[in-house]
């Protein structure tokens, strides 16, 4: 009798734990479901053709246009600027930490770099608007107060630790034997790093870049504070522009009635954002899997 009670209890606990694990699936279903449902309402009134080809995004004006391109271009420009900072800085830091730095340096620096990615994003936004932009305005006096350059630069600094940490892990996973073989042939550290370690860790390093892209695309507060909120179709980082995320914030600040087209438009923007980041996430996971099986 007691044994059966115990067994029922054990099964109950297991079921409870399983349900807890299943919440993550429920969250995904919730995210995809809400975005699709609300976007569907949006696309019932706005044709997909206009959404993808119109060059203006003015859902809140009386002369409403619903072309997503200006938001996508703003997102891409800030992302490219961010990558131009994060990829070189992150990669060279990773090479240094994995191939050159003595152990104590590596052990101290890694947590400090992690701190950089733990800084609240709103603080980074403050930094971009009130520190980096004035600095840049000394170089370009006619740089507008809101611009994509300073937002992108700061996002780059923010995602740099992701690049350096994931690439360093990939480089550390390269077996010591391969380095020793290279040194035995008379190669210098640089030759070993460039010809042996980096090529062997390439898929891991690529995964780091791809994950960084996905973070830069989804970053919200820095662009909402420092890049301005006007959707403009431009590739010039010196101009102000809105990103997908900044638009969502902008609309949320106002008081849009539930169910209106403006309300639904933030879900359409969110859907585009989700598709973009998901593509990069999946690519990143595939690359990471490849480097894990390499050795």
């Amino acid at each position: 009798m007691r044994k059966t009670v115990g067994r029922v209890r054990e099964r109950g606990i297991e079921l409870g734990l399983f349900l807890a694990a299943l919440t993550s699936v429920a969250v995904t279903v919730g995210i995809v479901g809400v975005l699709l449902y609300e976007s569907l309402g949006f696309f019932r009134q706005v044709s997909l053709g206009a959404f993808l080809t119109d060059t203006q995004w003015t859902p809140l004006f009386s002369d409403a246009h619903y072309g997503i391109l200006p938001l996508v271009s703003g997102t891409l420009v800030t992302t490219v600027v961010a990558l131009l900072v994060a990829v070189p800085l992150g990669t060279i830091t990773a090479v240094y930490l994995s191939e050159y730095a003595p152990l104590p340096v590596r052990e101290t620096v890694k947590p400090i770099l992690e701190l950089l990615s733990a800084v609240p994003t709103v603080v980074f936004g403050y930094f971009a608007l009130l520190f980096v932009t004035p600095l840049l305005q000394r170089l370009w006096p006619d740089l507008p107060g809101f611009n994509m350059l300073s937002a992108g630069l700061v996002i780059g600094i923010m995602i740099m630790p992701y690049v350096s940490s994931v690439s360093e892990d990939a480089m550390r996973a390269v077996p010591m034997l391969m380095r020793e073989g290279s040194y035995a042939m008379g190669a210098s550290r640089l030759q070993t790093a460039v010809r042996v370690v980096v090529p062997s860790a390439l898929s891991g390093i690529a995964a780091a870049y791809v994950l960084a892209v996905s973070r830069a695309i989804g970053e919200t507060m820095v662009v909402a504070i420092a890049a301005g909120m006007q959707p403009t179709l431009t590739a010039n980082p010196l101009e102000p522009a809105a990103t997908l995320t900044a638009y969502i914030v902008q609309v949320s600040l106002g008081d849009l009635p539930h169910g209106s087209l403006g309300y639904q438009s933030i879900f359409a923007a969110g859907l585009v954002l989700l598709i973009m980041t998901l593509t990069f996430n999946i690519a990143g996971h595939m690359l990471r899997k490849r480097f894990q099986h390499a050795f």
């Binding site: 297991e14 733990a118 709103v122 010809r195 695309i217 969502i248």
Partner: protein
């Protein structure tokens, strides 16, 4: 065959050595540049915001006048939202991790959960806000409340909690489980009495880092409609009559520190930028303190437990 890499050409030892030093220097410089940014950021916040930190700042409501503006509703809101987040995310995350690490059979449902968890970790936080707006605010009618905010952040940090807990469970040696099993403990008794206590250090580290991330989040809370100007406090969680605790505050509107800071940064007047810096300084101190605590716990448990 001529080599494509300059460093492969038969330079003398001296030159290769010099190149090596050059690259090491560049690496060191890149690393120092990012650390310097962190220091500049902190110094800037301290210089601009430091003088504004006073007892009055903590105990005043926001105001149209920068000198009178305070952060009271924001830090009260942050604390209450964090309570909801922790109460939801901690048990849920640990339970999910225990299932995946200790119970789950290897089959497609487990694979699905794992792939899904990894993808969720990469979903931008503002998407969680949209989900919460559509689902919690308008379908479940929880309103633009502390409860909605806490649940949103809990779901947001769930993947981090699960991954950190799994990592910690994995470091517990198999022999502990086998020893408990050999003495007749059931699966759950093994987990609850032996595996979880042994993994406490790692789990705690992960939880603190996840909560420190949640404290700094603002984007998902803005989408659900957190107010940026609020001149009252939520209902008190305790009352004089039976049953002495009240949960009315759960459904109250709120603001949190990062949103208050965003509101101040977005104003044109410079005086508001200085109190924004004060709020930022507070946020940074909290983040740094939590990260420091996490590093300390990690180091302490690593030293104390020797398998």
């Amino acid at each position: 065959m001529p080599s494509r890499f300059p460093s492969d050409r038969p330079y003398g030892r001296a030159l290769r050595k010099r190149l090596d030093i050059l690259v090491a220097g560049a690496g060191l410089l890149a690393m120092l540049a990012s650390i310097a940014t962190l220091l500049i950021l902190l110094a800037g916040l301290a210089m601009d915001g430091g003088p504004h930190l006073s007892w009055k700042f903590f105990t005043s409501y926001p105001s149209r006048f920068p000198d009178a503006a305070g952060i009271l509703p924001a830090w009260v809101g942050t604390m209450l939202v964090m309570v909801v987040t922790a109460v939801t995310a901690v048990p849920l995350g640990i339970a999910a991790a225990v299932y995946l690490e200790e119970y789950a059979p290897r089959h497609w449902v487990t694979d699905l959960i794992e792939i899904n968890m990894a993808n969720l970790a990469g979903v931008p936080s503002i998407i969680y806000g949209l989900m919460a707006l559509g689902l919690l605010v308008y379908q479940l009618h929880l309103g633009q409340s502390i409860l909605t905010a806490g649940l949103t952040l809990a779901l947001l940090i769930l993947p981090i909690v699960v991954m950190a807990t799994r990592e910690a469970l994995r470091t517990v040696p198999q022999s502990i489980r086998e020893a408990a099993g050999a003495l007749g403990a059931t699966k759950w008794q093994t987990v609850w009495d032996h595996v979880l206590p042994a993994a406490t250090g790692g789990i705690l580290t992960g939880l603190i880092l996840a909560l420190s991330r949640a404290i700094g989040e603002s984007a998902p809370l803005m989408t659900i409609g957190a107010l940026s100007f609020i001149a009252f406090l939520p209902h008190e969680p305790w009352q004089t009559d039976f049953p002495f605790v009240s949960f009315e505050w759960l459904l109250d509107p709120f603001t949190v520190m990062p949103i208050q800071m965003f509101n101040w940064v977005s104003r044109p007047q410079e005086a508001f930028h200085r109190i924004a810096a004060a709020a930022g300084l507070l946020l940074m101190v909290m983040t740094l303190a939590m990260n420091g605590l996490a590093i300390y716990i990690r180091a302490r448990y690593r030293k104390h437990i020797q398998w």
